[in-house]
């Protein structure tokens, strides 16, 4: 087990390096020069410009620049945001908790919906319940998050006026009301993201349970005289969850994509909306840093999935 974990951990490092290389390559290939502005400015003499270029190492070989950038990123020196007038790392630290809260809650919601429904549907394949669940799942993941978000706003904010559609971090209420207001404004983003993921997870769970349910050891369990509930929970579900963990981990990049959209719709002050506003403001250091943070989060979630995988499947420890 320890070897397995260490191995997964060591694999995560080259993938992080790979991701950073991809990011840096994109940046290096991009047309335009961060000092273009200086170059066209007649007040800056050419000697100063050359000195500045040398200081920032613009003319060094790409590899050197990459290593320098990587070292700076690793030391927490993520640059300065032109638009927000604040260090990038501080800006991101302010925003990350909100994003993690929204994503975490929506994942919990998604699994809370998908596991029971997927398992129940698969144990009664082609029943009425299964067909309804299947159709709803299809509808669910064919509805893009940006459209569901708008529909929710239309229904719950505009028509029913139950929930606020703009997320505010400066709520003035005190005590329990403060919590209530926070919860109220988080409901819609979490639901939008949660329902979308629940739909695809339901399909994974269902098909995985269907695959396991026809295996020999399930017949063995029934031949022992166990009731359906025990057979399902003890013998089918745990085995069926093993491939689901991998599929959920593969979904993580898509989940972050959904989070960006949701944050943008509801103006949730997380790193997703930060990315969009930085792009609209041409704030390159923030864009680079946020993209890299997203990549780190994906790798982190993959590690968690590997951990779960090793816990669920005893064969791993000896692999």
């Amino acid at each position: 087990m320890a070897t397995y974990l260490l191995r997964r951990f060591l694999i995560a490092i080259p993938s992080l390096l790979g991701i950073s290389l991809v990011l840096f390559t994109v940046l290096a290939l991009a047309p335009g020069d961060p000092f273009e502005e200086l170059a066209t400015n007649p007040n800056v003499p050419p000697e100063v410009r050359t000195a500045l270029r040398a200081k920032f190492g613009i003319d060094d070989p790409v590899m050197v620049r990459y290593l320098r950038w990587l070292a700076a990123m690793a030391q927490g020196d993520w640059g300065f945001s032109f638009a927000s007038r604040i260090d990038v790392d501080q800006l991101i630290l302010q925003r990350v908790p909100v994003t993690l809260f929204v994503i975490g809650s929506s994942q919990i919601l998604a699994l809370a919906i998908a596991l029971p429904i997927g398992i129940y549907a698969a144990m009664r394949p082609y029943s009425v319940f299964d067909q309804i669940a299947n159709t709803l799942a299809f509808v669910g993941f064919s509805l893009p998050t940006f459209f569901t978000g708008l529909l929710f706003i239309l229904l719950f904010s505009i028509q029913l006026d139950w929930l606020p559609f703009v997320y505010r971090s400066d709520i003035s209420a005190e005590g329990w009301r403060w919590y209530w207001e926070h919860l109220r404004q988080a409901i819609m983003p979490i639901m939008v993201l949660g329902f979308f993921q629940a739909a695809s997870y339901t399909r994974y769970v269902r098909s995985s349970v269907l695959d396991v349910a026809r295996l020999d050891y399930v017949t063995t369990a029934r031949a022992k005289g166990l009731d359906e509930r025990t057979v399902t929970l003890r013998h089918v579900s745990r085995n069926a969850l093993i491939p689901v963990v991998t599929l959920v981990a593969l979904q993580m990049p898509a989940v972050f994509g959904g989070a960006i959209v949701t944050e943008q719709i509801f103006r949730v002050p997380g790193i997703g909306s930060l990315l969009i506003s930085a792009m609209l403001a041409n704030d390159t250091p923030v864009i680079m840093a946020v993209t890299f943070v997203f990549a780190c989060l994906v790798v982190l979630f993959n590690l968690i999935a590997d951990l779960l995988y090793g816990w669920l499947d005893p064969r791993i420890s000896f692999g």
């Binding site: 295996l215 050891y217 063995t220 022992k224 005289g225 166990l226 009731d227 003890r234 013998h235 085995n239």
Partner: protein, 615 residues
Amino acid sequence: MTTHPVLSVDKLSTAFRVERRWREVVRSVSFTIGPKETVALVGESGSGKSVTALSLMRLTPRDSSRITGSVILGGRDLLQLPDAAMRQVRGDEIAMIFQEPMTSLNPVLTIGFQIAEALILHRGMSRAEAEAETVRLLDKVRIPAATSRIHDYPHRFSGGMRQRVMIAMALACRPKLLIADEPTTALDVTIQAQILELIKLLQEEEGMSVLFITHDMGVVAEIADRTVVMYGGEAVETGTTADIFARPAHPYTRMLLSAVPRLGSMAGHPHPVPFPKIDRTTGLPAPPEEIPDTVARAERPVLEVQDLTTRFEIRGGLLGRARGRVHAVEKVSFDLRQGETLALVGESGCGKSTTGRSVMRLIEPLSGSVLLDGEDIMALGERELRERRRKMQMIFQDPFASLDPRMTVGAAIAEPLVINRLASRAEAREKTAELLRRVGLSPDMAGRFPHEFSGGQRQRICIARALAVRPRLIVADESVSALDVSVKAQVVNLMLELQAGMKLAYLFISHDMAVVERVSHRVAVMYLGEIVEIGPRAEIFGNPQHSYTRRLLEAVPVPDPARRREKHRLSNEELKSPIRPLDYVPPERLYREVSPGHMVQVSDSAPPLPVVAAA
């Protein structure tokens, strides 16, 4: 039976719903099982024997199956019981073991837990009590060091050991009836012998009845008191095993029995003998036809193999470095003449299939030489090798898997001609028709796809494809092992006929000793990648010298209830693995010539004879 039966099945029928229509796969089957009696349910694939077993337990899919008739156990009709009461019967009064030990245990639960589950459920034991009982059960099925193994997961056990775990699980609640559905079919012959002995012994100790489902008449003769023969979903004949073997009444039973290869039946025949042709209506065999000697002894051998060695590396650990080697084929030498059949026999993991593939260089051997008509195959470049491959062709075990499902049979047979540019399109079509006729099929079948044929027909197609390029040598890798008894006999006969007609040399790879005895001129016994004994067929079967050869021959069940072995020699010896550490140097092997052409390895690599257990 004078005593009251434990189980009586009356007019049992089972139907499955396939695309909105009910199809009956078991029709009105009736039989009884007395106390302490073993009844065999025997039949070929599709005879409905396994469905019968599942129906008794009501384990067929609920929504898409229908069971009628009655199954009386202890005065109650199981088919009428409510679900909850039926669950009380399962695992408690009737227990079941299945064919595939590798997939019948839940991979994420410890074996101890899986055995204890039934005890906790039906006996109301506490965890600790159940655990103690589990250890006792594992001891009972002769699993070594039971106490330390109850917390192990199934992947730590070999197939034979897993089947023991399954048996322990089935015995947990001392059932009145044990249903064993082909419990030894997936196992090697020496392991099969162990499991059969174990079941017999435990039945005596526990005083339970056994319903034993199998396709193997040898196993039936070995274990059953009475036998029910199934064919096409019906029980066509029922009687004591001795009666059925001595005086089969139904034509199907007669046909089945005369098609069964019997070890020892070839004594006195110098050359291979085809299976007797059987009259379909009476089921009576025609006298066997002798085949003349086909071996070209004067000429240079078609195939000369010298010191062939193939190893695979096993990678693992943090950096995927090599951690060990499978010594799959280790210094194997033999030759094969035109018109001759050399059988390579042995159990799984002995390297017989790897040897066949290495000879064809489908797997790259590590060293050694392979001469085909005097030319060194090992020295050829890729292009020349592809060209030379038409002199040697291969027939595989699974005829369905060895035909491209998206290609018509005609195109498949013509493909080797096309690849080797041996024929124009029209010539290829003509040749295909001729080949189909030659293997006993009709030329107008060329336009059909593989899934439209039966297993035996598909194997004929594979043979036709192999023959298209007029090869000198055919490597037949378990080519008849997956076929039903009656079909097996026909395909073997076809192969013998083709050998005589086309002067083919066969490298016949098989684990089925009875078939090998019938088809081969010479036999090589493989164990852990090495040939331990090689010689003329009559010598190997009549005068086996190596301890492993003897064990192998002893383990083969003989389809003759009169020769049933009474000795209870229980062992739990496992098959050895050919995996060795990286620094392993294989020892030099010496061979002793027993009689002309009969060589035995002197440095005995087989394990010592199994210990005789106190029964």
